[in-house]
């Protein structure tokens, strides 16, 4: 599956995107964020405050209690500031 990062999450992690297999323990978005925190210094900084992290599953906004399911592209980004 593909993980993609935007804005300061991208900067902290140092990657636009990566391909990775999630551990079986990751069921919902919250599990995924917790797991990300454990992947190194940049990830720890990017995911330090889970409440500020927004997630999209296959280009749809997802709440933190939503199941990750069979999503092929998972995006992580801060609250949006367009317009």
């Amino acid at each position: 599956m593909k993980l993609v990062y935007f804005a300061w999450l991208r900067e902290h992690i140092g990657l636009d995107e990566e391909r990775i297999d999630l551990p079986a323990s990751v069921k919902n978005v919250r599990d995924l964020i917790n797991w990300q925190q454990s992947r190194g210094e940049g990830y720890a900084r990017a995911f330090a405050d889970p409440e500020t992290v927004r997630v999209a599953l296959d280009q749809f906004h997802a709440e933190h209690d939503e199941a990750v399911g069979t999503a092929e592209e998972i995006a992580f980004f801060p609250p949006m500031t367009g317009g």
Binding site: V4, F6, A56, F60, A75, P79, M80, T81, G82
Partner: protein, 151 residues
């Protein structure tokens, strides 16, 4: 295609004419244009860079348009243009156009689209100030509140 993500500027009159497309049933056209501001929290802005998530931005803006059209069936046209890349103070960022035979519908739908666009469309602004710092713009609670009033 009524949603465009582009680097280029847009011409508001030309966009209205294209959306109306000669239909003489329209009656009312409302536009909202967002422009880059020069000052933020007493800091002078040199420029502003808009990052976006292309695939999702297109889809999300189309979903917002669809929601507006279901909510106001009297809406006879919608257009959203959002720019990305680096923009200077005074530059146009976003254009929303709504058409209807009734002005109230056109006004409400334009506000609705802007409220959702602000807090749901995947765009992020980074501002560079005169002090040389570049920082990501923080989302505003008031934008979330503006969206929630439609529920």
């Amino acid at each position: 295609m009524t949603v465009s993500l582009q680097r280029e500027d847009f011409d508001i009159s030309a966009e209205i004419d294209r959306l109306v497309d000669g239909r003489t049933s329209v009656g009312a056209a409302v536009t909202f244009t967002g422009l880059v501001r020069d000052m933020v929290h007493d800091q002078r802005i040199l420029d502003m860079t808009l990052e976006h998530y292309p695939a999702m931005a297109q889809n999300e803006l189309e979903r917002i348009e669809q929601q507006a059209r279901s909510r106001w069936p009297a809406l006879t046209g919608t257009r959203i243009i959002h720019r990305f890349g680096t923009l200077m103070p005074g530059d146009r960022i976003v254009l929303v156009i709504t058409l209807s035979s009734h002005r109230q519908v056109a006004f409400e739908a334009a506000e609705f689209i802007m409220d959702f666009l602000k807090s749901r469309a995947p765009f992020w602004k980074k501002e560079r100030t005169e002090q040389g710092e570049a920082s990501w713009v923080a989302a505003k609670d008031e934008d979330d509140k503006a969206r929630l009033r439609w529920q």
